[in-house]
């Protein structure tokens, strides 16, 4: 297995070098950002072009990073969600407080929480870029939390079991998750790139070391 990463000590190749060479071995692609059109995405795409196994693959990346796909997959595997509703323009029957997530190409730091109904139409208009892209709406029922998920470990103790299940289902080595804690339950709302500095690289390193030893 080849480990491709810019940040991990045990990496065999940087993303840039990796892209310029044929691939014959399975690939572990470690990146804090797998967004479409970014290096993290291209590494997985390159591996797929060469028909080798890669973690994560492009389908998994897209399934995690596009909000409706994330929620549908979570539902299918029984990971708790509050459901979502897609809108492109303001509607009369929307209730607050509500979490808004942009379903556009620029989904990074896109989460907004609107508490007052009067502010909602303006925010939908803005986040949909004037109805060009849908916005995913989630009800807010609990405490909203951002956690960093690293190979099934969470940056926050309360959500460690949740992070483990998330990784099992979605196979994304590193990401930021937006969740709600409602009555002790962890509920999934969103997945987006982590910032490099938010990642606990020592945890990543330990995990990668274990994976390397097991093969």
């Amino acid at each position: 297995m080849i480990i491709v990463s810019e940040d991990e000590d045990e990496s065999d190749s940087s993303p840039l070098l990796f892209l310029r060479q044929p691939v014959h071995d399975s690939v572990l692609n470690i990146n804090h950002d797998y967004r479409y059109l970014r290096m993290g995405y291209y590494v997985s795409a390159h591996a797929e072009t060469y028909g080798v196994e890669v973690t994560p693959d492009c389908t998994e990346i897209m399934d995690a990073y596009r909000n409706p796909l994330l929620i549908e997959k979570a539902r299918r595997y029984g990971l708790p969600t509050n459901g979502y509703r897609l809108v492109t323009k303001p509607k009369d029957d929307l209730s607050t407080p509500v979490m808004l997530l942009a379903v556009n190409p620029f989904t990074n730091n896109s989460m907004k929480i609107v508490k007052s109904g009067s502010k909602l139409p303006g925010m939908i208009k803005k986040m949909s870029m004037d109805s060009r892209f849908p916005v995913s709406l989630h009800p807010v029922r609990g405490e909203v939390l951002e956690i960093i998920q690293m190979f099934g470990e969470s940056s926050n103790d309360e959500t460690s079991e949740f992070a483990r299940r998330f990784f099992e289902i979605f196979n994304i080595p590193i990401c930021k998750l937006i969740v709600q804690i409602d009555d002790g339950n962890v509920i999934l709302n969103h997945c987006e790139p982590a910032l490099r500095k938010e990642v606990k690289w020592d945890i990543v390193h330990e995990k990668v070391h274990k994976i390397k030893q097991s093969i």
Partner: protein, 288 residues
């Protein structure tokens, strides 16, 4: 069978595109199927259908990708499927696919911003001059420019690198038209010449500040040369078994594939003028 056709409002702006959509609908209905147009807000209704045909512009960043993936997961027959969208929408990925599969195509390099004199010299040495620079996500020729010297290459690439980590730089291949080979389920569906307008070098060219499209000349699909057919089918098989449009230049040095598109344009009075059964064949692919 119930067929959903995913469209956006702009698909109805142009009369011949609108008419083609209506032809799809009437063809499906005459074959005994239900054919409904669905829009962004109907995404959650996808499981009600048996098949999905996407006519809105596809891209992994667009709603069309979400629709395609949700439909695939709900077990619908899907054109364009998610993998085809991911592959064809990105010219860096296509570049890689062409290399891996020895697809005859313009000599081509990935560029990530190495402006050392050594690299700049090597680009022109490898590709000749002028070169063509593209962003991975260009469509409708929006981010495709020609650079005739080092200064232009630096200017254009710096502009493009602001929005993309990688660019594609290619050998310039001169021609009067692009072959458009329409492929469905790895068979030739239609054949056209997309002509390049006088004074331009792209099918859609800016001439004296105005956008000009070249003519579309449909040609019987059976008249395709065996070599072009071979190249086209081998390539479409690398992508999937959906509906594709390949752009290929014919040169003294053989055919050169420019790209393979998912979601190829089908306009009433253009691609459909010779082989008029393309609507029926596509509906058939959706329901079988």
């Amino acid at each position: 069978m119930k067929i959903a056709c995913f469209v956006e409002a702009y698909n109805f702006d142009d009369k011949s595109e609108r008419n083609a959509l209506l032809k799809f609908k009437s063809t499906a209905e005459s074959m005994g199927h239900l054919f409904e147009f669905i829009f962004k807000e109907d995404i959650t209704r996808i499981p009600e259908y048996d098949a999905l045909f996407i006519r809105a512009t596809t891209d992994p960043s667009n709603s069309a990708y979400i629709v395609s993936r949700l439909a695939e997961q709900s077990g619908l027959k899907v054109i364009d499927d998610p993998r085809s969208i991911r592959t064809c929408s990105n010219k860096a990925i296509l570049h890689d696919l062409f290399l891996k599969n020895n697809v005859p195509s313009p000599r081509s390099l990935l560029f990530t911003g190495d402006y050392s004199q050594e690299n700049l010299d090597s680009i022109f040495k490898t590709l000749g001059c002028p070169v063509v620079i593209k962003t991975p996500y260009t469509r409708f020729s929006s981010h495709v420019e020609k650079a005739g010297n080092e200064k232009e290459l630096i200017e254009i690439s710096k502009k493009y690198l602001r929005k993309s980590k990688v660019l594609i730089i290619q050998e310039y291949v001169q021609s009067h038209f692009d072959w458009r080979v329409g492929i469905l389920r790895n068979k030739v569906l239609y054949l056209c010449k997309y002509c390049i307008p006088e004074g331009g070098w792209k099918v859609k060219s800016k001439i004296n500040g105005k956008n000009v499209w070249g003519d579309t000349i449909a040609v019987p699909r059976d008249s395709i040369s065996p070599e072009l057919e071979n190249i086209s089918i081998s390539l479409s098989k690398c992508v999937g078994d959906g509906l594709y449009g390949l752009d290929v230049k014919e040169t003294d040095d053989g055919y050169k594939v420019i790209e393979i598109n998912d979601n190829p344009s089908i306009y009433d009075g253009y691609e459909d003028t010779i082989d008029t059964d393309i609507y029926e064949k596509i509906i058939n692919a959706l329901v079988s």
